[in-house]
Amino acid sequence: MPEAPAIRLTLPQHAFKALLQRGVGIAGGAGATVRKFLEDVLGIDATYVEERLQTVFLDGQPVDDLDRAVVKPGAVLALSGAMPGLAGATMRRGGYYARMREGITHEEHDPAVGVHDDGIVVVKLFNRPLADLAESLAQRPLLARQGTVEGLESGAGEGGWVRLAVTLA
């Protein structure tokens, strides 16, 4: 965990959700599989992970197998519900049309080696997961990039991260 001063912010829902779309940092948990990160680190219900997180990106690459893809330090994990249209079907986790995105699909070459306490994972929430999980995410310690939300214009520590404690207005 980088040395970073903590800033307490009271944010309206829409401002916090705007931040979540751009991404917040989660300290700890890197090295786990995506499923374990979601369930054990973020505390998302297993049924919700399986049934609602139908589109998952790791470093911009669609993930098909949550138990094989590994969240490494510095990774960007984006969570979405099922998306409309052919493009949405194409991006879908394990979807029938996955091969239409051949070339950008996540392929895991390094197996999970266990969870680290160091390292930051950026988590982005979109659409339905944004609506469903924003409140629970607001209740945990977060990191945000300086300048990504009003009130965070200064105070960045290592890597430009600011430790954030959010109260939703």
């Binding site: 779309q21 751009r22 589109t55 990106f57 099922a82 052919l86 029938y96 091969r99 950008i104 979109f126």
Partner: protein, 577 residues
């Protein structure tokens, strides 16, 4: 729907409407009917704005019934933009009403004898056609102000703006929505110019006294309808995602995938994506007193549209779609929803295809006509198009022409039509459809309708790179079939996931018409439509050489994944083998 209303615009004494039996076209609807008529009756070497071309306006097979989601209208012709066959598809009220009045199609045909502009009025009492010079260069919203009193209760208006009058290759045919606003458009391929070439400015449809179409087997139809609506409601896309956020729900996801074409397809991610996302847009609309959940036609249960209002709560435009937000947003480097909404309003008002217009402005920005990200300049360019200045006329001819005029290689077009909001280097399967669809670069031509159920072309491993061709073919066939029914294509996801919902669609058709269709029958219908279209294009001079993406998509890698389009020409050629 046993009547085709043929309007001969070159008749002695002025345009003349003659109702004719559907005849050999019986059993066809929507895109099936438009493509059959164009392929059969229009010489493939006709000039798109000449007297031999026709404009066919057709509701779908289930339009006008009580089936939910059946309000789509197909508009077909030989395209001024591509030179090939075209079906442009739109929501709005007109499909339901035309079908209830008994019309399988309206066909505008012949060559106008003068420069007059006409208004066609269709009701249960018949058809009248009157000249009205006062409508010259009227915008679609001005036409609404003029005619709303005639159609707001039980009617709709089909019209062209100044763009269609000026013969622009990216002009649209507008169809009014539930509130009577000209917000829905048969957008792609310049169909508005063909309507303009026939001298028809507006068609006012008054369905007072027309009844909902009655099925052959009412009990079976009712049961199928219930299953249909249940399936759509319970699915997380059709029942939750689309109603809450609209199609613009895709911006964040496609951007994350690195497939969001940015600054004229230069990269696949836009740093301002979250500012113009569906989530942000819905929040803004609702906070200002607009709506993020709205249907474009009565009977829509998905309600993917909405209303965008300004900071004072005044209506600006319908909720901009994903394609519009992309075309006028990321593709032009613009991250301001108010600017994008203003551009959308202008597109609707002048009668312009938002996809082609946004792609064209982006090309113009790359050419230095304006800077990427300059929203004010984009709005000024759109006004030039609407007003018909020399620069406006260039831009109104589409992205390919604009690139040619300004000496650019980067024209992201196939068969002359600009690509929509998915970069084909990142989503290669969609690139195959862009390349091979008879429509030109088209994102709706290859939608999914439970092809694992249809099994057209057999089962293929979804994770293998090979087989993109077979998949694209399956999807194009399935999409053509859906486009013939009048169903909104957004039913596809629920139908894909839920076999019982696909079966409900087949059951609706069978119960309404007394048919005995199965999945193979649906696939055969889709194949027949594609065969019409490919045959027409071949006679119009298209060859395999036209089923290609621009070469630079093979050469220039797309960030962030650094991918190129590497599907071979042989595989592209195999799509329809």
């Amino acid at each position: 729907m046993d009547t085709i209303l043929r309007i001969d615009v070159g008749a002695e004494g002025g345009p003349k409407a003659v109702p004719t039996p559907v005849g050999d076209y019986a059993g066809m609807g929507g895109r099936g009917l438009t493509s059959a008529i164009i392929a059969t009756e229009v010489p493939a070497d006709a000039h798109p704005l000449g007297p031999e071309n026709k404009l066919v306006i057709a509701p779908g097979l289930l339009s006008g019934t009580a089936a939910s989601m059946s309000g789509r209208l197909s508009v077909g012709c030989k395209s001024p933009l591509t030179g090939g066959i075209k079906e442009a598809n739109s929501g709005g009220q007109a499909a339901q009403l035309l079908a209830r009045l008994g019309y399988a199609a309206i066909v505008l045909e012949g060559g106008r004898k003068d420069d007059d502009l006409y208004v066609v009025r269709i009701s249960k009492n018949g058809v009248t056609i009157t000249a009205d010079e006062s409508l010259r260069r009227a915008t679609n919203y001005q036409l609404m102000d003029r005619f709303l009193g005639e159609y707001e209760k039980k009617g709709a208006m089909i019209s062209i703006g100044p763009a269609g009058e000026m013969g622009y290759a990216n002009s649209t045919v507008s169809i009014t929505d539930v509130e009577g606003r000209p917000t829905r458009h048969a957008g792609r391929g310049g169909v508005g110019a063909v309507m303009g070439s026939k001298g028809i400015k507006a068609i006012i449809v008054d369905a007072e006294g027309a009844k909902v179409r009655a099925p052959a087997n009412p009990e079976a139809f009712k049961a199928a309808s219930k299953a249909w609506v249940d399936g759509l409601s319970k699915h997380p896309v059709t029942g939750e995602g689309l109603p809450a956020y609209g199609t613009n729900v895709l911006t964040n996801v496609i951007n994350e995938a690195g497939a969001l074409p940015t600054r004229n397809f230069a990269t696949g991610q836009f740093e301002g994506a979250s500012k113009i996302s569906g989530e942000t847009q819905a929040e803004l609309e609702v906070s200002r007193g607009g709506s993020a959940t709205h249907g474009c036609h009565r009977g829509c249960t998905i309600k993917c549209s909405g209303t965008f209002v300004d900071k004072d709560g005044k209506f600006v435009t319908k909720q901009p779609e994903y394609e519009t937000v992309w075309a006028h947003g990321a593709n032009c480097g613009i991250d301001d929803l108010d600017v994008i909404a203003e551009l959308d309003r202008l597109d609707d008002d002048y009668g312009l295809d938002t996809i082609e217009m946004g792609a064209t402005i982006a090309v113009a920005m790359e050419a230095g006509v304006a800077k990427f990200g300059d929203g004010k300049a984009a709005i000024e360019l759109l006004h030039e198009v609407g007003e018909g200045t020399p620069l406006g006329r260039i831009l109104g001819s589409g992205a390919a022409t604009t690139a040619r005029v300004f000496g650019l290689e980067h024209a992201p077009c196939v068969k002359g039509q600009a690509m929509p909001a998915y970069d084909p280097r990142a989503v290669k399967g969609i690139g195959v459809t862009y390349a091979t669809s008879p429509m030109g670069a088209d994102h709706t031509a290859g939608y999914a309708v439970a092809t694992n159920i249809l099994k057209v072309g057999g089962d293929v491993d979804p994770l293998k790179a090979e087989g993109q061709a077979a998949l694209s073919k399956n999807l194009q066939i399935a999409t053509a079939a859906v486009d013939a029914t009048g169903m909104c294509l957004f039913v596809a996801f629920a139908v894909l996931d839920q076999p019982e919902t696909f079966q409900a669609l087949v059951d609706l058709l069978n119960a309404y018409y007394g048919w005995d269709l199965d999945a193979d029958g649906v696939a055969a219908y889709g194949s027949k439509i594609l065969a019409f279209e490919r045959d027409f294009n071949a006679r119009a001079g298209f060859t395999k050489a036209d089923d290609r993406l621009p070469r630079y998509f093979k050469r220039e890698p797309l960030a962030p994944h650094n991918v190129t389009f590497d599907v071979s020409d042989a595989e592209l050629d195999s799509v329809f083998d």
